[in-house]
C-alpha cells in the first residue's frame, strides 16, 4: 500500500508497477478531496461561516499531510475515519462552545452583511407610485398575465417570471381585437371576461402575484391599478442602519444584542449574529424563571439515572437468581430478552399507548378493577413512576443477561467455605455474592448510569417531557424532562423560538457533568491503567 514501504522490499516486477499505480491513485484521490474541501471552504466562508471554512481547510491539510508525508504512513489506514471524526465529532464540540457565546437563534441566524442582503430582497408596493392600469389575461394552466397601460399610453404585456414585452394596440376595432385595441389572445394567454376577472381577484390572490421580470416585478395594487414593487429595506452605511422605505423609519444596528433597533424600540424583522460573551451562561445561573426549572430538571436527571439503574439491575439480578437451575430457564430467558431486542422507540410508543388516559389498556383496566387509575399524564409523581416502570421493562433483560454470566464466574468453592464458617444465607448473599458481582458488573452499571443520564428517547417519546411545569412557557418545560430533552426543547421545539446559543450553553454545562462522571468511571474501573497497559 505505501510506496515508501514497498521500496524497502525486494522489488518484484509486478510489485513496482502496482505500487506506482497505487501511488498515482492515491495522489489523484488526495487531489480530488483537497480541491473539493477548499472549494467548499470558500463557499461556506463566503456565507460568513468562517469557523467551518477554517475547519474544512485544516482537515483537508491534515488528510493531505497524512497521505503524503512518508513518516505518517500508519495514519493512512485511518485517515477517512480521522477526517470524519474531526469534522463530525470534534468540530461540533468546539463549535458548540463557540455558539454558546453567541446569540445564534431564530432571527439571528446570519451575519450582519447577510441579514442586510436578505432583507434587501423584501419588496413593497408604494401606494403613490402606481403607474399602470391593467387588463387580465389567463391561460389554461391557471397562470395569469397582465396587459399594462401607462398614463402616457405605452402598453406592455407582463407574464410572471418573464421580462416585460412591449406591445402595441390595434385600434382597427376588428376581431380579434376589442374596442380598446387589445387582442383576444396573446402569447398563449386569453383575455379574461369581467366575470372571470372578478372570480380571479377573489380566488387566486392576484395581489400576491408578481408579474414581469423577477428583478423588477409589478404587482396589482387595486381594482384598476398596478405598480412597480420597490425594495423595502435599504442599508445606510453612514448611520449603520437599515431604513424601512415604506414608513421611513430608521433602524440602527445595535451590535451588543444583534438587532436593528428603531427609536421606539421596535426591531427590524431580521437581527444578526453577534458575540454576547457569557450572557447565555449568566442566564442559566441567574434568571429565576430558567434556574428554578433547570434545577428541578437537573435533580430529576440524576434521580432518573440512579433509580433506573437500581431498579433494572435489581430485577435483572433477581431474575438471574430465580432462573438459576430452574427447569426451562433457557427458554424463559429467551422470552425475557424480547424487550431488549424490540427497537426501543417502538416499545416506548406501545407503552405510551397502554398508559393513554383515553382507553389505554392499563389505565382502563385499573379503572375497571379499582375504579381508579394513576394520573400518569397530569401528576408529576406518577408520571415519573411511569417513566421508571417503562425503563424497568426496557432495561432489566440486559442486566439479567449480564448477571447470569457474572454469577457463573463466581467460584462455588467460596460459598462452601462460607457455609463451613457458619455464614447464613443472608450473610452469604450480602457479603459474598453482591460484592463479587458488583466488582464484575460495576463498570457496566456506571456506563448504564451515564447512558440514562443522556436518555432522550424514553423521555421524549413517552410523555414528551410532560406534564408541563406550571409557569414555564415557550418552550414549556415538563416534570419528566431531563437535561438533554430540556436542551432539545430550547434548540428545536416547535413551540418557542429556536435558541441555538442558549441550548449550546446548556449542552456545555452537561458536557462538564458527563465529563466528571466519566472521570469518576475511569477512576472506578481503573480504565486508565488498562489503557496504559494495553495500548
Amino acid at each position: 500500500m505505501a510506496a515508501a514501504q514497498a521500496k524497502q522490499r525486494a522489488p518484484s516486477p509486478t510489485g513496482i508497477s502496482l505500487s506506482v499505480v497505487a501511488y498515482s491513485l492515491r495522489l489523484l484521490a488526495i487531489g480530488i478531496v483537497s480541491v473539493f474541501s477548499f472549494w467548499l471552504a470558500v463557499q461556506v466562508g463566503r456565507d460568513g461561516n468562517l469557523f467551518l471554512a477554517f475547519a474544512l481547510v485544516l482537515i483537508a491539510v491534515g488528510v493531505g499531510a497524512i497521505n503524503l508525508i512518508p513518516g505518517l504512513w500508519p495514519l493512512r489506514w485511518m485517515s477517512p475515519g480521522l477526517a470524519l471524526m474531526a469534522l463530525l465529532a470534534i468540530y461540533p464540540l468546539i463549535y458548540t462552545v463557540y455558539i454558546a457565546f453567541t446569540n445564534y437563534s431564530d432571527g439571528h441566524l446570519y451575519t450582519k452583511e447577510r441579514a442586510v442582503q436578505l432583507m434587501s430582497n423584501a419588496q413593497y408596493l408604494p401606494a403613490e407610485s402606481v403607474s399602470y392600469s391593467w387588463e387580465l389575461y389567463g391561460n389554461d394552466e391557471g397562470t395569469f398575465a397582465l396587459w399594462l397601460t401607462t398614463e402616457e399610453g405605452a402598453t406592455f404585456f407582463a407574464a410572471p417570471g418573464q421580462p416585460l414585452a412591449t406591445v402595441t394596440l390595434n385600434q382597427s376595432g376588428e376581431a380579434p381585437y376589442d374596442k380598446d385595441g387589445l387582442p383576444a389572445t396573446f402569447n398563449g394567454f386569453r383575455q379574461l371576461s369581467g366575470k372571470e376577472r372578478l372570480q380571479a381577484m377573489r380566488d387566486a390572490n392576484l395581489q400576491t402575484i408578481q408579474f414581469g421580470d423577477p428583478a423588477n416585478p409589478i404587482g396589482i395594487t387595486s381594482r384598476s391599478s398596478a405598480g412597480n414593487y420597490q425594495q423595502k429595506w435599504v442599508y445606510d452605511a453612514e448611520q449603520d442602519a437599515v431604513v424601512d422605505k415604506e414608513t421611513n423609519v430608521i433602524y440602527k444596528a445595535d451590535v451588543s444584542v444583534g438587532e436593528f433597533v428603531a427609536a421606539d424600540g421596535s426591531h427590524a424583522p431580521l437581527g444578526f449574529w453577534v458575540q454576547v460573551g457569557v450572557e447565555n451562561f449568566t442566564r442559566i445561573f441567574t434568571s429565576v424563571s430558567i434556574r428554578e426549572p433547570l434545577l428541578r430538571v437537573f435533580g430529576w436527571t440524576i434521580a432518573f439515572a440512579f433509580f433506573s439503574v437500581l431498579t433494572a439491575f435489581s430485577l435483572g439480578l433477581f431474575m438471574a437468581l430465580m432462573l438459576d437451575k430452574f427447569p426451562g430457564a433457557r427458554f424463559i430467558k429467551s422470552l425475557l430478552i424480547i424487550p431488549y431486542a424490540v427497537p426501543g422507540m417502538i416499545s416506548i410508543l406501545i407503552w405510551r399507548g397502554m398508559l393513554n388516559p383515553n382507553g389505554g389498556v392499563i389505565t382502563s383496566s385499573l379503572n375497571g378493577l379499582l375504579g381508579w387509575a394513576p394520573p400518569w399524564h397530569t401528576d408529576p409523581g406518577w408520571a415519573k413512576v411511569a417513566v421508571l416502570l417503562v425503563n424497568l421493562w426496557l432495561a432489566f433483560p440486559y442486566f439479567m443477561l449480564i448477571c447470569t454470566g457474572a454469577l457463573q464466574s463466581i467460584s462455588s468453592a467460596i460459598y462452601e467455605a462460607a457455609e463451613v464458617d457458619g455464614a447464613n444465607a443472608w450473610q452469604r448473599f450480602w457479603s459474598l455474592t453482591l460484592p463479587l458481582l458488583l466488582v464484575a458488573v460495576g463498570p457496566l452499571l456506571i456506563a448504564s448510569f451515564t447512558y440514562n443520564f443522556n436518555n432522550f428517547l424514553l423521555i421524549e417519546a413517552l410523555f414528551g417531557g410532560g406534564p408541563p411545569m406550571v409557569g414555564t412557557s415557550a418552550p414549556p418545560v415538563g416534570h419528566t424532562d431531563n437535561l438533554i430533552s430540556y436542551t432539545y426543547r430550547y434548540a428545536f421545539s416547535s413551540g418557542g423560538s429556536r435558541e441555538y446559543g442558549f441550548a449550546s450553553a446548556i449542552a456545555i454545562v452537561i458536557f462538564f457533568m458527563v465529563g466528571g462522571l466519566t472521570l469518576f468511571q475511569f477512576r472506578f474501573t481503573k480504565r486508565w491503567e488498562e489503557v496504559g497497559d494495553n495500548v
Binding site: L72, M85, L88, F492, V531, N534
Partner: protein, 313 residues
Amino acid sequence: MSSMAQTRSQVAQSVRRSSRPDIIRRILFALRTLVILLVLAFTLFPVVWIISASFNPTGSMTSQTLIPQNVHSISDLLVNFDKLLNNPQVPFWRWISNSAVVAVTNTILSLAITALSAYAFSRFRFRGRRSLLVTILLIQVFPNLLAMVALYLMLLQIGPYVTILGVNFGLNSHGGLVLCYLGGAMGVNTWLTKGFFDTIPRDIDESAEVDGATHWQTFWYLVFPLVRPILAVVALLSFVGTFNEFVLARILLTDRDNWTLMVGLYNFVSAKFTDDWGVFAAGSLIAATPVVMLYMVLQKYIVGGLTQGAVKG
C-alpha cells in the same frame, strides 16, 4: 433485596441438602414459579397486546379486546395492515426503505473505517499512537446528541454546496444523516475491534512480510478472514443501532418522504394515536419482527463466532 437473597440461598440449599423437609421445598418452588410467571407476564403483556391490536379489526384503542371480536374472514384480521400500506399519508414502505438504505450504508462504511483503523492501531507502532487511542476513547464519551445544534447548523451551512453524484449531504438528506453517524464510527468500535485484532498472533503477519507481502496483502488475505467474527458483531450492532436511531434522524430529516421508520412511526403516532392505534400496531409489528428475529438468530451465531474466533487466534 433481603427476601430475594434468602429465597435464592434457600433454594440453593434445598437443592444441596436433601435433609430439608419435602413440603417446604415444594412451597419454595411454587413461590419461585409464581414470581417467574409474574415477571413473564409483565414482560410479554405489551408484546401480546400489540400483536392483538394489529389484528383487531376495530382499530381503535378503546374498543380493543385481547381476542379480536367480529372477525368473519381473514381480511377482517388484516384491516389495519391494509390501512397502513394503502394510505398515501403514511408512506410506510418509503420509510422502511429509507431506514434500510441509511442502516446498510452506515454499516458498510463504518465497518470499513473500523477494520482499517483497528488493524493500524493493533499492528503498527508509531509516535502519538497512544494519545490518539486515548483521544478516541474520550471523544466517544460525549454523545453526539449533545452537539446536535452544531451538527444541525453544519449541515444547514454546507447543504447548498454538497451534492455529489446526485447524493446530497445537507440538512434533510440521508447523506447528511449517514455522515453524522459516521463521525462516531471511529470512536464507538475501534477499541472493541482493536482488542480482537490484538488476540491474533503477530507471527502470522511477520512471516507474511518476510515473504514480501505488503501490509495491505497481509491485512486482506491473512488477518481479515480471522477477524470476521468480531466484524460480524460490529456490523450487527451498527445495523440495529442505526435502524433504531431516532434523535438525530428526527432533528435532521424534515420531509415526510425522507423520514426513517422510527421518525415516521413517532410522528404518525403523535398525530392521532387513539384512533389509529391498530394501524400503529400493524406498523410496529412489521418494523420490529425482522429486528427481533435478527437478534434472536444472529446472537447465537455471533456468540459462537466469537468463541470460535478466539480459539483460532
